[in-house]
Amino acid sequence: MHPILKLVSQRLALGLLLLIAASALIFIGTQILPGDVAQSILGQSATPEAIANLRKDLGLNEPALSRYFSWLGNALQGDLGTALTNGQDIATSMGKRLGNTLFLAFWAAVISVPLAIFLGLLAVRYKDRWPDKLISGVTLASISIPEFLIGYVLMYFVGVKLGWAPSVAMINDSMTLGAKLHAIALPVTVLTLVVLAHMMRMTRAAILNVMQSAYIETAELKGLSSFQVIARHAFPNAIAPIVNVVMLNLAYLVVGVVVVEVVFVYPGMGQYLVDHVAKRDVPVVQACGLVFAAVYILLNMVADIVSILANPRLRHPK
């Protein structure tokens, strides 16, 4: 078997194993939360008989292990159960929310990843000169300010004073793509500012590290321009660390957008999760946790696989 196939399938198997472990942790975590689900649904005034009946209906009297496996089995078939609070199918109501979150994350990524890499290359090209210092300074400032503050500041100036983009990012299916993009302009900007610094600095550091290599000197002595040296010779050897940090930030765009979604009242996963945590809706919390874990593991797995594929020694063994 080609060593690369072996490595990639190892990664895939490991990812799956990790996902199952994460599901177990999520399940255990929600089980050891204090309080009783039936009690919290029915309220303080419920009779003990009513609580016992509800517990039986919800299957809470079954042993934890069998409840875990039936939950996991159903989840693997796409059935995430029904929400306790409103009785709706979780998969259906979450599907739309997840779509919205991915929409937001996608456009934030489309802007921030190329921009971060380009700025990183630019910072290397003008290392220790004013463009480098400016880029580092601005991105560092933007990552240091809490995202809700950036959100509110943008909302006030761009949304309210200038009126260029709506302050509340409401989207629905009937909108055209252009209208949707206009609606999410501000949250996308905030997210871009938040993830830019990390990716840009890692790109800069990884490429500077490669720039010490003897083959960079060879490239310079071929008469290539500085940007050709960086883009053709340094960047291909810096892909692995860059991809890793890009994937971490993409995962953040999906998993960590809670604050931004709440600030802009965007109907995404973050809002959905926050709402149901407040209502103690355990099946929804579990389902959200599982989806977040899956996204995180998937993206990191992709980063691993890209790093493996980027290594010519693994791609082309002796």
């Binding site: 003897a214 000197e217 060879t218 071929k222 008469g223 290539l224 291909p236």
Partner: protein, 544 residues
């Protein structure tokens, strides 16, 4: 005779240095050098490290490595002073008119790109040839340089070819744009001698056939004598002597050149073997997790107070043998007797006495010392550890040891960074000596040093052997070193001892094939040596 291709006038080069205990400041490393090079000629630049030869070579491309700057003088290439133009003019020159072959092709090829793409890149980017023209040219060069499968080798990645092949690819890279001048910077130094000779012959032939001029930089006078028309000897950034190769080799005028030519003049009478202090019996060894042996049935003896030289090319198992003897790699079969007792196979279970009597000195003195400890602390450590010495007694013994390595007690509070390469290696010798060992394993201890400095180290080791009656297991790939120091010799090849005996036995005919190849590959300081060897080998292979 027209204008020379390359004309260098009072070239001055500066560098920024970062001393450990002072502010960074600028120093001058080349102090006004003049020379010229005609079209199609080869000039050898020779000198020890720090002589400024690479720096001068790179100045022909208008390039300063790291913090190096060309601070003054003129460098005329093809009738224009390249130091006057801007970076854009330099870029047009680099990779088109002047190209560069680096010492380590393995590090100088981009691991992420195919060889062909890198070989033709300069020609194509500079607009000298179209991609297909350049590739056709590259394939011709691959064939001329004796690379296997010249039509397809370009589609491989650098890690898929051997070190010697990669060095030829680097030469093809430099010749592909049809430059007027190639700067060869120690192109064969990192290769085994048996590989070096073929690469050297290929480079020489390529230079002759393409009619390109070359600056050939090396520290090895025997190598430069084979390829150059003229030689310039450099020392500390200044020219010592300049002349035709014949005059420099056979009739050097300056004292420094004479020292370089006559280096390795140590005369060591071999001693007859006696009852051995170390007996290695039928050792097999393999690295963990691998399925094949790297040492096969290795047996050697070392007599007390004598030197066994273990010689072979990289990958022959020399250093693995040292690891087995020191217990760092327990053997899978065989035994080791030392000073009348059998050593346990693994290092942690050995007694302190076993550890003390068996010391080691490494190739890279730099990394074998803690940079944050003073020389006194480094040498004092074995005194504390093995003999429990403290205070004034320890300091006195350290001073004695420093005296023994010809450095003096003024160095006791200095840090390794303040020492020269030769001094660092001397401190490592003193550290080994401090334990009063019966056997010292010396692993390529002179390989990283300049010839004159290495000579000093070898003389010191022989002196110490006489005084302290210590035995050496001397690992090296350099046959001149072997001749200088050995009493007996073991030649290793692919994990086996292929020839073993006293020095006179091993170095006199009849030879086995490998020893013959090894001995005949060592460059000799004679004009025409390379052609003779290649011709002899061609005849022999035709005869078979």
């Amino acid at each position: 005779m027209g204008e020379p291709l390359l004309k260098v006038r009072s070239l001055k080069i500066g560098a920024t240095v970062y001393p450990p205990d002072a502010k960074p400041h600028k120093i001058e490393i080349v102090h006004g050098v003049d020379f010229e090079l005609e079209k199609g000629k080869v000039l050898g630049l020779i000198g020890e490290s720090g002589a400024g030869k690479s720096t001068i070579g790179l100045s022909a491309l208008g390039y300063g490595r790291g913090g190096v700057e060309l601070t003054g003088g003129e460098v005329w290439v093809n009738g224009r002073d390249i130091l006057q133009g801007g970076i854009a003019d330099l870029r047009k020159l680099r990779g088109a008119e002047v190209t560069y072959v680096a010492q380590s092709a393995a590090a100088s090829f981009n691991p992420a790109k195919k060889i062909m793409d890198q070989v033709v890149e300069a020609s194509v980017t500079q607009g000298k040839f179209s991609k297909s023209e350049a590739e056709a040219k590259a394939r011709l060069l691959f064939a001329k340089l004796g690379l296997p499968d010249p039509n397809n080798i370009g589609s491989r990645y650098p890690h898929q070819v051997s070190g010697g092949q990669l060095q030829r690819c680097m030469t093809a890279l430099a010749l592909c744009p049809e430059p007027d001048l190639v700067v060869f910077d120690e192109p064969t130094t990192a290769l085994d001698v048996t590989t070096q000779i073929d690469v050297l012959a290929a480079i020489k032939e390529a230079i002759r056939d393409t009619g390109v001029a070359a600056l050939y930089i090396t520290h090895d006078l025997a190598v430069v004598a084979q390829v150059s028309d003229h030689i310039m000897v450099l020392k500390m950034g200044e020219m010592v002597e300049y002349g035709p190769v014949d005059q420099i080799i056979n009739n050097p005028k300056e004292e420094y050149t004479q020292a370089l030519v006559s280096v390795r003049s140590i005369n060591h009478e071999e001693k007859t073997p006696v009852e051995p202090i170390l007996t290695v019996k039928n050792i097999n060894a393999r690295y963990r997790g691998t399925k094949f042996d790297v040492l096969h049935d290795v047996s050697v003896d070392i007599s007390p107070g004598q030197t066994l030289a273990v010689v072979g090319e990289s990958g022959s198992g020399k250093s693995t043998l040292a690891r087995v003897i020191t217990g760092l790699l327990p053997p899978s079969a065989g035994s080791i007797d030392f000073a009348g007792r059998t050593l346990t196979p693994d290092q942690p279970s050995r007694s302190r006495e076993d550890l003390r009597e068996l010391q080691m000195i490494y190739q890279m003195a730099d990394v074998a010392m803690n940079p944050r400890q003073t020389v006194g602390t480094i040498i004092g450590r074995p005194l504390e550890f093995y003999f429990g010495m403290k205070g004034a007694e320890k300091r006195k013994r350290i001073a004695e040891l420093l005296e023994e390595i010809e450095m003096g007690d003024g160095f006791i509070d200095r840090y390794p960074a303040e020492l020269s390469g030769g001094q660092k290696q001397r401190v490592c010798i003193a550290r080994a000596l401090a334990a009063k060992p019966k056997l010292i394993i010396c692993d390529e201890v002179t390989s990283a040093l300049d010839p004159l400095v290495a000579d000093g180290i070898l003389k010191l080791l022989l002196d110490l052997q006489k005084r302290e009656d210590v035995a050496y297991l001397f690992i090296t790939h350099d046959l001149a070193t072997v001749r200088a120091i050995a009493d007996s010799i073991a030649v290793m090849y692919q994990g086996r001892v292929v020839r073993y005996g006293t020095k006179s036995e091993v170095l006199s005919p009849p030879f086995d094939d490998y020893t013959d190849l090894l001995l005949s590959s060592v460059p000799e300081m004679k004009l025409g040596w390379l052609e003779n060897v290649i011709a002899t080998r061609k005849m022999e292979s035709a005869g078979n």
